[in-house]
Protein backbone atom coordinates (compact mmCIF):
# COMPACT_ATOMS: atom_id res chain seq x y z
CA UNK A 1 0.00 0.00 0.00
CA UNK A 2 1.50 3.36 -0.96
CA UNK A 3 1.62 5.96 1.74
CA UNK A 4 -0.91 8.80 1.83
CA UNK A 5 1.78 11.34 1.15
CA UNK A 6 3.01 9.53 -1.95
CA UNK A 7 -0.44 9.43 -3.47
CA UNK A 8 -1.05 13.08 -2.67
CA UNK A 9 2.22 14.01 -4.37
CA UNK A 10 1.32 11.98 -7.40
CA UNK A 11 -2.07 13.66 -7.74
CA UNK A 12 -0.43 17.08 -7.59
CA UNK A 13 2.10 15.97 -10.23
CA UNK A 14 -0.51 14.72 -12.66
CA UNK A 15 -2.48 17.93 -12.06
CA UNK A 16 0.51 19.95 -13.18
CA UNK A 17 0.99 17.82 -16.26
CA UNK A 18 -2.64 18.41 -17.07
CA UNK A 19 -2.15 22.15 -16.85
CA UNK A 20 0.70 21.91 -19.34
CA UNK A 21 -1.13 19.71 -21.81
CA UNK A 22 -4.16 21.96 -21.58
CA UNK A 23 -2.03 25.03 -22.28
CA UNK A 24 -0.35 23.27 -25.21
CA UNK A 25 -3.74 22.37 -26.59
CA UNK A 26 -4.80 26.00 -26.52
CA UNK A 27 -1.55 27.21 -28.05
CA UNK A 28 -1.87 24.63 -30.82
CA UNK A 29 -5.43 25.66 -31.56
CA UNK A 30 -4.39 29.32 -31.80
CA UNK A 31 -1.52 28.39 -34.12
CA UNK A 32 -3.82 26.19 -36.12
CA UNK A 33 -6.03 29.15 -36.90
CA UNK A 34 -3.02 31.09 -38.13
CA UNK A 35 -1.82 28.19 -40.26
CA UNK A 36 -5.25 27.68 -41.75
CA UNK A 37 -5.49 31.37 -42.60
CA UNK A 38 -2.11 31.18 -44.37
CA UNK A 39 -3.27 28.17 -46.31
CA UNK A 40 -6.42 30.03 -47.31
CA UNK A 41 -4.48 33.09 -48.48
CA UNK A 42 -2.15 30.95 -50.51
CA UNK A 43 -5.02 29.20 -52.20
CA UNK A 44 -5.95 32.39 -54.09
CA UNK A 45 -2.44 32.56 -55.48
CA UNK A 46 -2.18 28.87 -56.28
CA UNK A 47 -5.55 28.79 -58.01
CA UNK A 48 -4.72 31.73 -60.26
CA UNK A 49 -1.44 30.10 -61.07
CA UNK A 50 -3.03 26.87 -62.07
CA UNK A 51 -5.46 28.67 -64.37
CA UNK A 52 -2.63 30.58 -65.97
CA UNK A 53 -0.55 27.48 -66.58
CA UNK A 54 -3.56 25.77 -68.08
CA UNK A 55 -4.17 28.68 -70.44
CA UNK A 56 -0.61 28.61 -71.71
CA UNK A 57 -0.43 24.83 -71.87
CA UNK A 58 -3.64 24.76 -73.88
CA UNK A 59 -2.23 27.07 -76.49
CA UNK A 60 1.23 25.60 -76.54
CA UNK A 61 0.32 21.96 -76.31
CA UNK A 62 3.34 20.84 -78.31
CA UNK A 63 5.71 22.75 -76.08
CA UNK A 64 8.07 20.59 -74.11
CA UNK A 65 10.23 21.41 -71.16
CA UNK A 66 12.59 19.15 -69.20
CA UNK A 67 10.53 19.73 -66.06
CA UNK A 68 7.43 18.42 -67.82
CA UNK A 69 8.76 15.50 -69.82
CA UNK A 70 10.80 13.64 -67.22
CA UNK A 71 13.35 10.95 -67.93
CA UNK A 72 12.88 7.48 -69.34
CA UNK A 73 15.33 5.77 -67.08
CA UNK A 74 15.01 6.59 -63.41
CA UNK A 75 18.04 5.69 -61.39
CA UNK A 76 17.96 8.20 -58.57
CA UNK A 77 14.81 9.26 -56.80
CA UNK A 78 14.81 12.50 -54.86
CA UNK A 79 12.49 12.48 -51.89
CA UNK A 80 11.57 15.59 -49.95
CA UNK A 81 10.34 14.68 -46.50
CA UNK A 82 8.44 17.41 -44.72
CA UNK A 83 7.95 16.95 -40.98
CA UNK A 84 7.58 19.23 -38.00
CA UNK A 85 10.41 20.51 -35.85
CA UNK A 86 8.80 19.54 -32.60
CA UNK A 87 7.22 16.44 -31.24
CA UNK A 88 4.27 16.00 -28.90
CA UNK A 89 1.88 15.75 -31.77
CA UNK A 90 0.88 12.12 -31.64
CA UNK A 91 1.89 9.82 -34.45
CA UNK A 92 2.00 12.66 -36.99
CA UNK A 93 5.74 12.65 -37.59
CA UNK A 94 6.22 8.91 -37.30
CA UNK A 95 3.53 8.42 -39.94
CA UNK A 96 5.37 10.73 -42.31
CA UNK A 97 8.69 9.07 -41.62
CA UNK A 98 7.17 5.61 -42.08
CA UNK A 99 5.81 6.74 -45.43
CA UNK A 100 9.26 7.95 -46.46
CA UNK A 101 10.91 4.70 -45.41
CA UNK A 102 8.28 2.73 -47.26
CA UNK A 103 9.00 4.72 -50.38
CA UNK A 104 12.74 4.16 -49.87
CA UNK A 105 12.08 0.44 -49.62
CA UNK A 106 10.04 0.46 -52.82
CA UNK A 107 12.80 2.28 -54.64
CA UNK A 108 15.43 -0.09 -53.39
CA UNK A 109 13.46 -3.10 -54.58
CA UNK A 110 13.40 -1.50 -58.03
CA UNK A 111 17.14 -0.96 -57.82
CA UNK A 112 16.91 2.81 -57.59
CA UNK A 113 19.01 5.01 -55.45
CA UNK A 114 17.30 7.42 -53.12
CA UNK A 115 18.32 10.96 -52.30
CA UNK A 116 16.68 12.57 -49.30
CA UNK A 117 15.95 16.23 -48.71
CA UNK A 118 14.37 17.12 -45.42
CA UNK A 119 12.35 19.98 -44.06
CA UNK A 120 11.81 19.84 -40.32
CA UNK A 121 13.95 18.49 -37.50
CA UNK A 122 12.04 15.30 -36.74
CA UNK A 123 12.39 13.90 -40.23
CA UNK A 124 16.02 14.92 -40.43
CA UNK A 125 16.88 13.17 -37.16
CA UNK A 126 15.05 10.01 -38.12
CA UNK A 127 16.76 9.80 -41.51
CA UNK A 128 20.20 10.49 -40.12
CA UNK A 129 19.70 7.86 -37.43
CA UNK A 130 18.95 5.31 -40.11
CA UNK A 131 22.14 6.18 -41.90
CA UNK A 132 20.75 8.15 -44.83
CA UNK A 133 22.64 11.21 -45.87
CA UNK A 134 20.72 14.33 -46.72
CA UNK A 135 21.19 16.32 -49.90
CA UNK A 136 19.47 19.27 -48.33
CA UNK A 137 17.85 20.22 -45.12
CA UNK A 138 15.82 22.97 -43.58
CA UNK A 139 14.97 22.96 -39.92
CA UNK A 140 14.53 25.12 -36.88
CA UNK A 141 11.80 27.25 -38.40
CA UNK A 142 9.26 26.25 -35.77
CA UNK A 143 6.65 25.20 -38.29
CA UNK A 144 6.11 28.62 -39.81
CA UNK A 145 7.38 28.63 -43.34
CA UNK A 146 7.97 31.80 -45.29
CA UNK A 147 7.77 31.43 -49.06
CA UNK A 148 11.56 31.77 -49.29
CA UNK A 149 11.93 28.23 -47.94
CA UNK A 150 9.89 26.83 -50.82
CA UNK A 151 11.70 29.16 -53.18
CA UNK A 152 15.14 27.98 -52.19
CA UNK A 153 14.21 24.33 -51.99
CA UNK A 154 12.53 24.55 -55.39
CA UNK A 155 15.64 26.07 -56.94
CA UNK A 156 17.81 23.37 -55.43
CA UNK A 157 15.53 20.59 -56.68
CA UNK A 158 15.47 22.00 -60.19
CA UNK A 159 19.25 22.43 -60.22
CA UNK A 160 19.78 18.86 -58.97
CA UNK A 161 17.37 17.52 -61.54
CA UNK A 162 18.97 19.37 -64.43
CA UNK A 163 22.45 18.32 -63.35
CA UNK A 164 21.33 14.70 -63.22
CA UNK A 165 21.76 14.23 -59.48
CA UNK A 166 18.15 13.04 -59.34
CA UNK A 167 15.83 11.80 -62.08
CA UNK A 168 12.53 12.40 -60.38
CA UNK A 169 11.42 14.17 -57.20
CA UNK A 170 8.64 13.18 -54.84
CA UNK A 171 7.39 15.26 -51.93
CA UNK A 172 6.08 13.62 -48.79
CA UNK A 173 3.94 15.89 -46.67
CA UNK A 174 1.05 15.81 -44.23
CA UNK A 175 -2.15 16.60 -46.02
CA UNK A 176 -4.59 18.48 -43.84
CA UNK A 177 -7.86 16.65 -44.40
CA UNK A 178 -9.75 17.78 -41.34
CA UNK A 179 -9.17 18.63 -37.71
CA UNK A 180 -9.31 14.98 -36.79
CA UNK A 181 -7.59 13.57 -39.83
CA UNK A 182 -4.18 14.29 -41.32
CA UNK A 183 -2.73 11.89 -43.83
CA UNK A 184 0.79 11.47 -45.19
CA UNK A 185 0.70 12.03 -48.94
CA UNK A 186 3.08 11.72 -51.85
CA UNK A 187 3.19 14.32 -54.56
CA UNK A 188 5.34 14.05 -57.63
CA UNK A 189 7.19 17.32 -58.16
CA UNK A 190 9.39 16.44 -61.12
CA UNK A 191 8.29 15.76 -63.76
CA UNK A 192 5.52 18.18 -63.00
CA UNK A 193 2.02 16.86 -63.08
CA UNK A 194 -1.04 18.95 -63.01
CA UNK A 195 -2.81 17.54 -59.98
CA UNK A 196 -6.16 18.81 -61.20
CA UNK A 197 -5.56 17.58 -64.73
CA UNK A 198 -8.77 15.64 -64.91
CA UNK A 199 -10.70 18.51 -63.38
CA UNK A 200 -9.57 21.07 -65.91
CA UNK A 201 -10.59 18.82 -68.78
CA UNK A 202 -14.13 18.80 -67.54
CA UNK A 203 -14.53 22.51 -68.12
CA UNK A 204 -17.19 23.81 -70.50
CA UNK A 205 -16.07 24.32 -74.07
CA UNK A 206 -17.08 27.95 -74.28
CA UNK A 207 -14.46 29.29 -71.93
CA UNK A 208 -11.67 27.54 -73.83
CA UNK A 209 -12.53 29.19 -77.13
CA UNK A 210 -12.64 32.57 -75.44
CA UNK A 211 -9.03 32.10 -74.43
CA UNK A 212 -7.75 31.19 -77.86
CA UNK A 213 -6.93 34.77 -78.76
CA UNK A 214 -4.86 35.20 -75.63
CA UNK A 215 -1.77 37.28 -76.27
CA UNK A 216 1.36 36.89 -74.30
CA UNK A 217 4.85 38.09 -73.98
CA UNK A 218 7.61 37.02 -73.90
CA UNK A 219 7.21 34.04 -76.26
CA UNK A 220 5.42 30.92 -75.10
CA UNK A 221 8.64 29.09 -74.53
CA UNK A 222 10.24 31.81 -72.45
CA UNK A 223 7.02 32.18 -70.51
CA UNK A 224 6.99 28.45 -69.73
CA UNK A 225 10.59 28.77 -68.70
CA UNK A 226 9.56 31.31 -66.07
CA UNK A 227 6.24 29.74 -65.20
CA UNK A 228 7.24 26.14 -64.49
CA UNK A 229 9.76 26.73 -61.71
CA UNK A 230 7.16 28.88 -60.00
CA UNK A 231 4.57 26.15 -60.29
CA UNK A 232 7.02 23.74 -58.72
CA UNK A 233 7.72 26.15 -55.89
CA UNK A 234 4.06 26.70 -55.32
CA UNK A 235 3.57 22.92 -55.02
CA UNK A 236 6.40 22.76 -52.50
CA UNK A 237 4.90 25.66 -50.58
CA UNK A 238 1.52 24.00 -50.58
CA UNK A 239 3.11 20.92 -49.06
CA UNK A 240 4.82 23.01 -46.40
CA UNK A 241 1.66 24.87 -45.46
CA UNK A 242 -0.34 21.68 -45.32
CA UNK A 243 2.23 20.04 -43.08
CA UNK A 244 2.36 23.05 -40.78
CA UNK A 245 -1.42 23.07 -40.44
CA UNK A 246 -1.58 19.31 -39.94
CA UNK A 247 1.09 19.48 -37.27
CA UNK A 248 -0.94 21.91 -35.20
CA UNK A 249 -4.12 19.92 -35.68
CA UNK A 250 -2.33 16.71 -34.69
CA UNK A 251 -0.88 18.41 -31.63
CA UNK A 252 -4.27 19.74 -30.65
CA UNK A 253 -5.76 16.25 -30.77
CA UNK A 254 -2.79 14.70 -28.99
CA UNK A 255 -2.89 17.26 -26.20
CA UNK A 256 -6.63 16.94 -25.89
CA UNK A 257 -6.18 13.19 -25.38
CA UNK A 258 -3.38 13.78 -22.91
CA UNK A 259 -5.56 16.15 -20.89
CA UNK A 260 -8.32 13.56 -20.80
CA UNK A 261 -5.86 10.88 -19.71
CA UNK A 262 -4.73 13.16 -16.90
CA UNK A 263 -8.33 13.50 -15.76
CA UNK A 264 -8.73 9.72 -15.71
CA UNK A 265 -5.47 9.30 -13.84
CA UNK A 266 -6.42 11.90 -11.27
CA UNK A 267 -9.73 10.16 -10.70
CA UNK A 268 -8.08 6.78 -10.17
CA UNK A 269 -5.45 8.27 -7.90
CA UNK A 270 -8.07 10.13 -5.86
CA UNK A 271 -9.92 6.86 -5.33
CA UNK A 272 -6.69 5.21 -4.28
CA UNK A 273 -6.01 8.12 -1.93
CA UNK A 274 -9.43 7.78 -0.30
CA UNK A 275 -9.04 4.03 0.02
CA UNK A 276 -5.62 4.41 1.61
CA UNK A 277 -6.98 7.00 4.04
CA UNK A 278 -9.89 4.74 5.01
CA UNK A 279 -7.51 1.83 5.51
CA UNK A 280 -5.28 3.95 7.74
CA UNK A 281 -8.24 5.10 9.84
CA UNK A 282 -9.55 1.55 10.15
CA UNK A 283 -6.22 0.19 11.27
CA UNK A 284 -5.86 2.99 13.82
CA UNK A 285 -9.34 2.24 15.17
CA UNK A 286 -8.47 -1.44 15.48
CA UNK A 287 -5.38 -0.45 17.43
CA UNK A 288 -7.38 1.79 19.79
CA UNK A 289 -10.17 -0.74 20.30
CA UNK A 290 -7.64 -3.51 20.79
CA UNK A 291 -5.77 -1.40 23.36
CA UNK A 292 -8.98 -0.57 25.24
CA UNK A 293 -9.96 -4.24 25.33
CA UNK A 294 -6.57 -5.18 26.71
CA UNK A 295 -6.98 -2.68 29.60
CA UNK A 296 -10.26 -4.09 30.75
Amino acid sequence: MPSLKDVKGKIAGVGKTKQITKAMNMVASAKLRGAQARMERFRAYADSFRDMLRDVAEKEAELTHPLLTGRDEIRRVGVVLVTSDRGLCGSFNSNLIAEALKLAEECRSRGQEIVFYSVGRKGRDALLKRGYSLAGENSGLGGVYPFQVADRLGLQLIADYLSGAVDTVILIYGQFVSLMHQAPRRMQLIPLQSEEQSESRAEPEGSASARIDLLYEPSGEALMQALLPRVLKSFVFKGLLNTATSEQAARMTAMDNATRNCDDLIQTLTQLYNKTRQAAITSELIDIVGGADALQ
Binding site: R38, Y45, S48, F147, R211, L214, P218, L223
Partner: protein, 138 residues
Protein backbone atom coordinates in the same frame (compact mmCIF):
# COMPACT_ATOMS: atom_id res chain seq x y z
CA UNK B 1 -19.68 51.50 -63.28
CA UNK B 2 -19.77 49.36 -66.33
CA UNK B 3 -16.36 50.08 -67.70
CA UNK B 4 -13.73 49.72 -65.05
CA UNK B 5 -10.95 47.31 -64.27
CA UNK B 6 -10.69 44.98 -61.34
CA UNK B 7 -7.10 44.96 -60.12
CA UNK B 8 -5.99 42.08 -57.96
CA UNK B 9 -2.50 41.63 -56.62
CA UNK B 10 -1.69 38.39 -54.83
CA UNK B 11 1.56 36.99 -53.47
CA UNK B 12 2.15 33.56 -51.93
CA UNK B 13 1.82 35.05 -48.47
CA UNK B 14 -1.24 37.20 -48.88
CA UNK B 15 -3.60 39.08 -51.08
CA UNK B 16 -2.10 42.55 -51.30
CA UNK B 17 -4.76 44.46 -53.13
CA UNK B 18 -8.17 44.07 -54.68
CA UNK B 19 -9.63 47.25 -56.06
CA UNK B 20 -11.70 48.66 -58.89
CA UNK B 21 -9.56 51.01 -60.95
CA UNK B 22 -9.54 53.03 -64.18
CA UNK B 23 -6.08 52.31 -65.47
CA UNK B 24 -3.12 50.10 -64.60
CA UNK B 25 0.47 50.30 -65.77
CA UNK B 26 2.39 47.08 -65.29
CA UNK B 27 6.16 46.52 -65.52
CA UNK B 28 6.26 43.59 -67.96
CA UNK B 29 9.44 41.67 -68.66
CA UNK B 30 9.51 43.11 -72.20
CA UNK B 31 8.68 46.62 -71.07
CA UNK B 32 5.89 48.34 -69.22
CA UNK B 33 2.37 48.11 -70.57
CA UNK B 34 -0.80 49.98 -69.75
CA UNK B 35 -4.17 48.37 -69.34
CA UNK B 36 -7.46 50.16 -69.90
CA UNK B 37 -10.93 48.66 -69.66
CA UNK B 38 -11.69 46.43 -72.65
CA UNK B 39 -8.11 45.24 -73.03
CA UNK B 40 -7.62 42.04 -75.00
CA UNK B 41 -6.76 38.91 -72.96
CA UNK B 42 -3.09 39.15 -72.26
CA UNK B 43 -0.50 37.31 -70.24
CA UNK B 44 2.96 38.59 -69.42
CA UNK B 45 5.87 37.85 -67.18
CA UNK B 46 6.65 40.62 -64.71
CA UNK B 47 9.91 42.40 -64.21
CA UNK B 48 11.11 43.89 -60.98
CA UNK B 49 9.66 47.35 -60.95
CA UNK B 50 6.88 49.69 -60.13
CA UNK B 51 3.24 49.16 -60.94
CA UNK B 52 0.91 52.11 -60.82
CA UNK B 53 -2.80 52.48 -61.18
CA UNK B 54 -5.41 55.21 -61.24
CA UNK B 55 -8.31 54.81 -58.89
CA UNK B 56 -11.86 55.69 -59.82
CA UNK B 57 -11.47 59.01 -58.03
CA UNK B 58 -8.48 59.83 -60.22
CA UNK B 59 -5.76 59.25 -57.67
CA UNK B 60 -2.54 57.59 -58.80
CA UNK B 61 -1.12 54.91 -56.54
CA UNK B 62 2.09 52.91 -56.67
CA UNK B 63 3.05 49.35 -55.81
CA UNK B 64 6.55 47.89 -55.88
CA UNK B 65 6.40 44.42 -57.45
CA UNK B 66 9.05 41.80 -57.86
CA UNK B 67 8.82 39.10 -60.51
CA UNK B 68 5.84 36.95 -61.32
CA UNK B 69 3.05 37.17 -63.85
CA UNK B 70 0.28 39.45 -64.94
CA UNK B 71 -2.89 38.23 -66.53
CA UNK B 72 -5.52 40.42 -68.15
CA UNK B 73 -8.85 38.89 -69.00
CA UNK B 74 -12.37 40.26 -69.09
CA UNK B 75 -11.43 43.51 -67.39
CA UNK B 76 -9.70 41.73 -64.56
CA UNK B 77 -6.01 42.39 -64.08
CA UNK B 78 -4.51 39.72 -61.92
CA UNK B 79 -0.95 40.15 -60.73
CA UNK B 80 0.76 37.10 -59.29
CA UNK B 81 3.92 38.55 -57.85
CA UNK B 82 6.69 36.93 -55.85
CA UNK B 83 6.38 39.94 -53.59
CA UNK B 84 4.46 43.20 -53.74
CA UNK B 85 4.33 46.19 -51.45
CA UNK B 86 2.14 49.24 -51.62
CA UNK B 87 4.18 52.42 -51.69
CA UNK B 88 2.72 53.67 -48.41
CA UNK B 89 3.68 50.40 -46.72
CA UNK B 90 7.34 50.48 -47.70
CA UNK B 91 9.55 51.13 -44.74
CA UNK B 92 12.39 53.40 -45.81
CA UNK B 93 14.67 52.30 -42.98
CA UNK B 94 14.13 48.64 -43.58
CA UNK B 95 14.78 49.04 -47.28
CA UNK B 96 17.98 50.96 -46.55
CA UNK B 97 19.09 48.23 -44.19
CA UNK B 98 18.33 45.53 -46.72
CA UNK B 99 20.32 47.45 -49.29
CA UNK B 100 23.32 47.72 -46.97
CA UNK B 101 23.13 44.09 -46.03
CA UNK B 102 23.05 43.01 -49.65
CA UNK B 103 25.94 45.29 -50.53
CA UNK B 104 28.03 43.93 -47.67
CA UNK B 105 27.30 40.40 -48.72
CA UNK B 106 28.22 41.12 -52.30
CA UNK B 107 31.52 42.61 -51.21
CA UNK B 108 32.42 39.75 -48.87
CA UNK B 109 31.06 36.95 -50.99
CA UNK B 110 33.42 34.29 -52.10
CA UNK B 111 33.54 34.19 -55.88
CA UNK B 112 32.91 30.47 -55.82
CA UNK B 113 29.56 30.82 -54.09
CA UNK B 114 27.64 31.73 -57.13
CA UNK B 115 24.23 31.08 -55.61
CA UNK B 116 24.92 33.46 -52.75
CA UNK B 117 26.01 36.15 -55.15
CA UNK B 118 22.91 35.75 -57.26
CA UNK B 119 20.77 35.88 -54.17
CA UNK B 120 22.46 38.94 -52.73
CA UNK B 121 22.29 40.62 -56.09
CA UNK B 122 18.57 39.96 -56.30
CA UNK B 123 18.09 41.27 -52.76
CA UNK B 124 20.00 44.42 -53.63
CA UNK B 125 17.87 45.00 -56.69
CA UNK B 126 14.70 44.55 -54.69
CA UNK B 127 15.87 47.03 -52.07
CA UNK B 128 16.85 49.56 -54.71
CA UNK B 129 13.49 49.13 -56.39
CA UNK B 130 11.65 49.92 -53.16
CA UNK B 131 13.89 52.87 -52.42
CA UNK B 132 13.61 54.42 -55.84
CA UNK B 133 9.83 54.11 -55.75
CA UNK B 134 9.70 55.72 -52.33
CA UNK B 135 11.93 58.57 -53.46
CA UNK B 136 9.93 59.02 -56.63
CA UNK B 137 6.61 59.60 -54.92
CA UNK B 138 8.00 61.99 -52.37
Amino acid sequence: MEHALQLEIVTPDKSVLSETVDFVSVPGSEGAFGVLPGHTPFLSALALGCLHYTTLSGETKYVAVNGGFAEVSHDVVRILADSAEKAEEIDMNRAEEAKKRAEDRLRDADRSEEINITRADAALKRALNRLSLKRFIR
